[in-house]
């Protein structure tokens, strides 16, 4: 068994988009590679529309990948073995309101993975499993017969997490699990994620756009821009010594609760908008907004290169 639970190699996900009479490729994810170690967390950050969610969904084959390899636990994930793979890989969704069926009780929602994979032999066993899952995520047993709309956002997200944990997965894709929640509840849910990781040894792909949250929970962080990874490094290193200009600007936008520091530091404001993924700039996707851009950037797309200490950056000039 290798030390990586998940290895993604040159993953590509193109969507066909009809633009008038022409069929265009929308390159939502373009040649993305990364690895996640057993029991560790990779944070994936980037602005909206950069393909973070698509990466997460493609990992679970909710979209058929256009190209590339996903190797989970030493085995390649294909559309044939995906049902078996979904016993080990699960997903927590962003919106706790629309990700739970309004016509099902909590018991049925959490029990659904058990039903689908037939993980119990008697009704009593099913119920026991569900109740212990509810306890794991901090829900009362008496909530089992209630409907999802009777809960608050934080509680609903706990239900979603319990559902993901039902099959006892080794890896969970967390697709912005806290961005729809209040800040006070975010902390609770994030602490619960960490606690579960310690207890059950699950690995996470933690997708978010809040760098502070990601730094807190992740071992490593990957920064994404327009379907490509631009920088991958250990969490603290990336936040303290960002190399890629895009990461630098992202970090400069993170609010710091200290007025002195905030006054002293310089905010890097990017100019212009994100280019449309239908009309990607040639070469480096970030060059249209990058102050270091040169002639070379317009011609050759930079590869992720190792800058030592496991810090990968895709930039010609930095």
């Amino acid at each position: 068994m290798s030390e990586n639970i998940l290895e993604v190699q040159h993953l590509k996900q193109y969507f066909k988009v009809r633009n008038g009479w022409k069929l265009l490729d929308l390159k939502a994810v373009d040649d993305v590679s990364f690895t996640i170690k057993h029991g560790q967390t990779l944070g994936l950050v980037g602005e909206s529309g950069c393909g973070k969610t698509t990466v997460g969904r493609t990992l679970l084959h909710l979209y058929e990948p256009t190209d590339g390899k996903i190797i989970f636990d030493g085995e390649e994930v294909t559309s044939k073995n995906i049902t078996a793979m979904r016993k080990k890989m699960q997903m927590v969704f962003q919106d706790p309101y629309s990700s739970l069926n309004p016509r099902m009780t909590v018991e049925d929602i959490i029990g659904e993975p058990l039903d689908v994979h037939k993980l119990y032999s008697t009704r009593a066993e099913r119920r026991d499993k569900i109740l212990s899952l509810m306890e794991t995520v901090g829900l009362n047993a008496e909530h089992a017969t209630r409907y999802a709309h009777e809960f608050s956002g934080g509680q609903r997200q706990r239900i979603g997490i319990a559902r993901a944990l039902a099959v006892d997965p080794k890896f969970i894709v967390c697709d912005e699990p806290v961005s729809a929640l209040d800040v006070s509840i975010q902390a609770q849910v994030i602490n619960m994620f960490e606690e579960l990781q310690e207890r059950l040894g699950v690995a996470y792909l933690f997708i978010a756009h809040d760098l502070l949250v990601v730094q807190h929970i992740s071992d490593r962080i990957a920064v994404m821009y327009l379907g490509k990874l631009v920088e991958v490094a250990d969490a603290d290193e990336l936040c303290n010594e960002p190399v890629h200009p895009y990461t630098q600007s992202l970090l400069s936008a993170v609010p710091i609760p200290d007025p002195k520091i905030t006054k002293a530091r310089q905010r890097i404001v990017l100019e212009g908008d994100v280019p449309s993924p239908l009309h990607m700039p040639t070469g480096c996707p970030f060059r249209t907004r990058c102050k270091y851009a040169t002639e070379q950037c317009a011609q050759v797309c930079p590869e992720l290169t190792d800058r030592g200490n496991g810090h990968f950056v895709a930039c010609h000039n930095r």
């Binding site: 909710l62 979904r86 629309s98 990700s99 659904e112 409907y147």
Partner: protein, 359 residues
């Protein structure tokens, strides 16, 4: 600060800027419980039913429908005549009992009553073949309701299966399936109904005495016509519903769990479009009754002597000027049934449509 008790909240001094610490004391158990009041757990169905019974129009139409149902079940047991029986008094055919007005007795009957016997009144009078009209209307209502009910179920089943497959599959299968629906939709349905009824009534031959033979080949062809033509509206409706429900994240969640399409349709999609299904089925019944009445009216409906409301209205047309009440009774019955089913359908929509929840 001698004598300061750590466990007690210090009192607030007048004019002191100190916060009133009594406001920050821990909540008692009772106060905590007050915070956790949650609305009572109700199922979607119970909630809808509760709202339905608050709607006076819907309750009224349910009452009318129940009354009609009770009438058509009970009446054949206490009315001593049958729908095809030509009236007779003491074994002799009563030739005077032709076209009697409501509650009128023929001469032979009057003589019979004068002897001290009891004769059940002709509540709606009699028809031109000396048959009791009340029991014929009752049987006509039976036929119409049966047609309405079964035709709607046929439409529902075909539309449901076709619409959910088309909506769930999406893409090319959906495109092809919907074009087929469009073609069927574009046929003038009355023309097809008439053609099919004519052709089918000659092809279909049943064993005498069987249930199908009792209904008559026209009735069976009516069901076939419904099965062939009228499901398209339902299929479109359900497809549209499923297309919108499919976009919800819980469908994606179910897929990520590893659920099969059949499971997703049954557990997630159909329960969520149940309200639309119930409503449109309720509204389908009156339209089926109307079609049946229309076909019987033009002579393509049920086979004589079995009456239906439409064929009764048709035969009443001939003597309309002398005996207008013969048209009024079946027409009134059709109106009552169709109106109350329509109102009930509206009530169901108001009760089950989640978008009208605030009402």
């Amino acid at each position: 600060m001698a004598g300061y008790d750590l466990n007690k909240t210090p009192d607030k001094q007048i004019l002191s800027m100190q916060l009133d610490l009594s406001k920050f004391e821990k909540a008692t158990e009772e106060e905590k419980r007050q915070q956790d009041v949650m609305s009572e757990s109700t199922t979607f169905f119970k909630d809808g039913m509760r709202k339905l019974f608050k709607n006076p129009l819907a309750v009224g139409s349910i009452a009318v429908l129940c009354l009609i149902m009770a009438l058509i079940i009970v009446a054949p047991h206490f009315v001593p005549y049958s729908y095809q029986e030509i009236l007779s008094v003491e074994g002799k055919r009563d030739k005077g009992a032709k076209n009697l007005a409501p509650f009128e007795y023929s001469k032979a009957e009057q003589a019979y009553i004068a002897k001290g016997n009891y004769r059940f009144p002709h509540i709606f009078g009699t028809d031109e073949q000396c048959r009791d009209y009340f029991i014929r209307v009752i049987y006509g209502t039976r036929v119409s309701l049966v047609v309405g009910f079964f035709a709607s179920i046929i439409v529902l089943i075909i539309g449901l299966i076709y619409g959910s497959i088309s909506g769930y599959a999406g893409g090319r299968p959906d495109l092809i399936m919907m074009r087929i629906v469009d073609i069927i939709y574009s046929l003038p349905d009355m023309l097809v109904v008439i053609l099919l009824s004519v052709v089918l009534s000659q092809i279909l031959v049943f064993k005498s005495g069987s249930f199908l033979a009792m209904m008559g080949s026209n009735m069976v062809s009516l069901f076939i016509v419904f099965g062939l033509l009228y499901w398209v509206g339902m299929a479109r409706l359900i497809r549209a519903q499923i297309l919108s429900i499919k976009e919800n994240e819980y469908i994606l969640a179910a897929r990520s769990i590893g659920a099969k399409p059949g499971h997703i349709i049954r557990k997630h999609i159909l329960p969520n479009c149940l309200s639309v299904i119930i409503i449109s089925t309720a509204l389908q019944i009156p339209s089926a009754i109307f079609t049946e009445s229309y076909l019987s009216f033009v002579g393509l409906g049920v086979q004589a002597p079995m009456p239906s409301l439409g064929s009764l209205a048709n035969s009443a047309r001939e003597g309309l000027q002398s005996y207008p009440y013969k048209l009024v009774f079946p027409a009134l019955m059709i109106c009552l049934i169709v109106l109350s089913l329509n109102l009930l359908g509206d009530g169901l929509r108001d009760a089950f449509d989640p978008k009208l929840k605030s009402k």
